[in-house]
Symmetry: C2
Subunit: 188 residues, 2 copies
């Protein structure tokens, strides 16, 4: 007998939020397909497929359900493939396993001791003490607060990039005090 | 008789500094070429060509010396063409008729009244009072201090872009004063 032919895989996009890719999630997909019963009749059925999205999965990760395509007498059903896509996040941008965020800070907070609170992708309030001088473009790296890696130890970092906002105007009195208090040297 | 043929123009680059294109200059070029005398003999001669570079000339401006190529019996000599090119300048970048410069400024000067001195392309000391708050990326536009235009009224602007340098560190005492003097609101 002839070798049964197999149709090429059927690919679908599975869009996940960054939160799902951080914590993991369970996604159920309803699919409809044709199956062939013992008598050779084609029946249209609906099925639920479950995907356990694992923490650290990236855009492009493929999940294959073998032979879950339409059945047809004399053919091997196609594989059904889901490809992970990443929904853009309002706050965090993913770069590999690192998470990047932009943070506006006003000049007063940038120059003095300031505690920034960052809400993580799993909802924790992360306290980031900023006792150093925060300059425009400064990047604060919080180790191991990025995305989970494939191996437990490979977690990425959280990188906070600062945009320092300046006061719209200053009075003559304020300028006098500023010129007295700010250093004239040791600028970076 | 046959119509005499003319060779295609010979093109040369004439690199000018931004100062030359701002003030104008006189450039003398020694060229060597063959000329045919009355007896039909070919002689190799050297000539000096003068180009009066006009204020406001741009990269790509062409100056043509008609028929200054090699002479050859029975041919019309080629035109000699000089094409203006602009030498990159250490301080100014030209954008159309505007001049752009980047200026580092320390935070103290950025926040207080400060007079910046800019040496123009014609060597003047231009005083630029900065009484406003200079923030990172701020652009100060000095009208009519750019490159000359083709028409006298079309002179471009000078645009100074600021990069504000922050102190490397501040003491606790300095931080206390800063948090007292800088505003908490009205940040741009």
């Amino acid at each position: 007998p002839a070798i049964p032919k197999k149709a090429p895989p059927v690919e679908n996009r599975l869009v996940c939020s960054l939160e799902e890719l951080y914590i993991g999630s369970t996604r159920k997909m309803k699919i409809s397909r044709n199956i062939v019963d013992a008598a050779g009749n084609i029946n249209h059925v609906e099925e639920i497929l479950t995907i356990n999205v694992k923490p650290g999965w990236r855009k492009g990760t493929k999940i294959t359900f073998p032979e879950k395509g339409n059945e047809q007498p004399g053919f091997i059903p196609a594989d059904l493939v889901f490809i992970i896509d990443e929904k853009p996040h309002d706050i965090f941008k993913r770069e590999g396993n690192d998470l990047i965020m932009s943070q506006k800070i006003n000049l007063t907070d940038a120059l003095t001791d300031f505690n920034l609170t960052v809400v993580t992708l799993d909802g924790r309030q992360l306290l980031v003490p900023l006792n150093e001088v925060v300059y425009p473009g400064y990047e604060k790296v919080i180790a191991k607060e990025g995305m989970p890696g494939k191996e437990p130890g490979k977690r990425g970092n959280l990188r906070i990039k600062f945009d320092v906002r300046f006061p719209a105007k200053l009075s003559s009195e304020q300028k006098v005090v500023i010129s007295q208090v700010l250093p004239r040297e040791s600028y970076r």
